[in-house]
Amino acid sequence: MKKQTVRVLTAVVLAGALATGASACGQKNNPAAERTLSYRSIWSADEPQAKILKSALDDFAQQEGVKVDVKFVGRTGGDALTTEMAAGKGPDLFDAGSDNLPAWRAQNLAAPVDDVLKMPVPGENGKTVGDLVPEALQKAASDDKGLGFVPHTAISTAVWFDAAKHPELLSSPPKTWDEFISYLDKAKAAGRTPICQDGTVPFYNVYWLYSALVNAGGAQSLLDLQKTSDAWDKPEVKAAAGKVEQLAKGGYFQPNFIATKYPAAQNDWIKGKCDLNINGSWLASEVASATPSGAQIRSFQLPVGGKESVEAGALGLGVNAKGKNAEDAKKFLAFFEQSKYQKRIAEEGKNIPARSDVPAPEALSDVQKALAGAKDVHLTYDTAAGNKAWWNDMFLPLDDQLLQGRIGADQFVQQGKQKSAQIMAGQK
């Protein structure tokens, strides 16, 4: 009896295996069933961006007859993505940004997508992706190998304020560094804390120095500091460090700001405990749950003169160089640039759409305007964060000391030059 049962079970398993194999063979012979598109997203399923992408992928699947496989795994869910992609088992589409493009490129995982710029966007009167995505953002998604991903969202850095509490900043934002310092002094004299800073995050602390240097000096002015020691001797570097020294000595930050753990300071800012916060264009969405009714988030560029360069960073989608469905992946990139999805990025995602003809939410309108009218643009952190040893181990800690007032501009330049030379020598 037992033997019979085993035989029957074996037969069933074999039949099942054969049937599965046969159906797989059948799929191989049917080109229509082969059209699939996979996407591994670092957005969580409950985030607005995930919902927008999901509905666009569903629309694309319906219109193109492509079977879409999408997984929203959250920020840390993508940790093993590069390994999977390098092994040829990754998704066709992945999330990319200006900050991590160098890493994707270094591993030869981001396929060139320059041809997408010439693809028409459905329902946009024959306009191509290249016509609709501004050149500054194309540049933010490019390197010396060409376009690395197609942007759907623009990101930038600015000084943020609540216009409901400080209407004077909306009507006449500071135009020069002196006017800016004058505003800080007035706020301080009135008993207010001028700036809230999440000081335990060095990436945020460095916004002051980075903006002071690159907004004035333009692209490459920060990046040059890790390429040649002589760049440290340029007067612009000392001038930018001098501005940060002035902020440190002025006592404009909240007490113990360097010990304030993210996101306490940005939440305190929106609750009105201080006037200003320097941050990325994601700030409004990050503080949404803490934002009091009636608050009117607005921003201005740090007024440091010079070239008045504006940071133009981008978030978008890249195509896996080892993916199996590159053509459909690229088609989707053009499909996702439709104004209906771009509007949702603004309205639901509370972000700046990549297309300049689609208005950003009011809180981000100043940044969008600054980007559109910029004479010069530069990439996020002037791409200097790409060199981890220089950025994480030397520049950020040194900047933290400057912002705390532990060293002055002169020491900053002297130590930065010396330590950069050491790191450059070690990396040869």
């Binding site: 390098a86 991590n100 360097i258 304030t260 753990k261 306490a264 060199n387 800690p397 990396q427």
Partner: protein, 320 residues
């Protein structure tokens, strides 16, 4: 005290490990089975541990951004660069300090608990409570840290009640001390649970005999509890060395709390430094440097384990 207990025949030292000469060779038929059972495990261990370990050593001699990118030979340059890298040296020193200082505190508290909790009613409940931090998610810890230790957090409000000015607990100068406190808080429960389990196995009549001889609590701990739980302590020490040298989550919880970016130099451990060098986020991964750090920590771990094993080597004490 020892002589009294020994004369009572309670404990006696013995060498239980049979000498190599006394070991009998396996019978040929059993040897076949031995290899059949051991073989798969040996193959898996070689494939999943030995080969990747050697690959890691190889990677440490190269410049490599990860799978898909070109690998360039650098020889010992990654190691030389690390030895001249202030951030790495700082993280290395922090790791050692954390292992030694936190270890002293963890085992100090553990021993104290063994003295105090032995006769206490409800010690099972207390053991569960002190074990709780071990299973709490570092993300939850991170959120709680901000709530407690921020400049306007609960701790500073309490200090303010006594007229003490707010302290920047999480600032670069003090955050590492806070991390050590966090490590002690989050790890001690595990070692208390281990050592109390060993203590529970000690027959109660030994303590009764000790009480009759007038032994104090400390003497009971010194001459009964510690010798009879020494083996577990030796294992726990090795566990501590391994765990402390890879301290990671608690540093993140106390500093960036999951936000983009890296902790300040003053708070970094080698594990944090290594992670920063290999993640895709915020720059090109440097797997060569990351692997070199891994090799250095592995060598350090081996040295410390050998040291700990030597320090904790004692003649085994067993009940007669």
């Amino acid at each position: 005290m020892t002589s009294r207990l020994a004369s009572a025949g309670a404990v006696r030292p013995s060498r239980t490990a049979p000498a190599a000469a006394e070991r009998k060779p396996l019978l040929p038929s059993r040897e076949k089975v031995f290899w059949a059972f051991l073989g798969p495990a040996l193959v898996l261990y070689t494939l999943l541990f030995v080969v990747p370990s050697f690959f890691g050593v190889w990677v440490s001699l190269t410049k490599w951004a990860g799978p898909g990118s070109d690998m360039t030979w650098r020889g010992l340059q990654n190691y030389v660069s690390l030895l001249g890298n202030e951030a790495f040296l700082r993280s290395f020193a922090n790791t050692l300090v954390l292992a030694v200082v936190s270890g002293t505190l963890v085992f100090g508290v553990t021993f104290l608990s063994m003295v105090v909790l032995r006769q206490l009613k409800g010690r099972a409940f207390i053991r569960s409570v002190v074990f709780l931090p071990v299973i709490i998610s570092p993300i939850a810890v991170g959120a709680a840290i901000g709530f407690l230790l921020n400049p306007d957090g609960v701790a500073n409000r309490i200090l303010g009640f006594f007229g003490i000015a707010p302290i920047g607990f999480l600032g670069p100068d003090t955050v590492f001390a806070c991390i050590i406190g966090g490590v002690v808080w989050s790890s001690t429960g595990l070692y208390i649970a281990l050592m109390l389990s060993a203590m529970d196995a000690i027959p109660e009549d030994l303590y009764e005999a000790a009480l009759l001889t007038g032994a104090s609590k400390w003497q009971q701990f010194r001459f009964i509890t510690l010798p009879l739980s020494w083996d577990v302590f030796a294992v726990a020490s090795v566990l501590w060395v391994v765990n402390s040298l890879k301290t990671f989550e608690i540093v993140i919880a106390f500093t960036t709390g999951g936000a983009v970016g890296v902790p300040p130099l003053q708070a970094r451990t080698v594990a944090v430094q290594q992670y920063n060098s290999v993640v895709v986020s915020g720059g090109v991964p440097d797997l060569g440097a990351g692997a070199a750090m891994g090799v250095i920590v592995t060598v350090l771990t081996i040295i410390l384990i050998v040291l700990v094993r030597r320090i904790t080597a004692r003649e085994q004490v067993e009940l007669s």
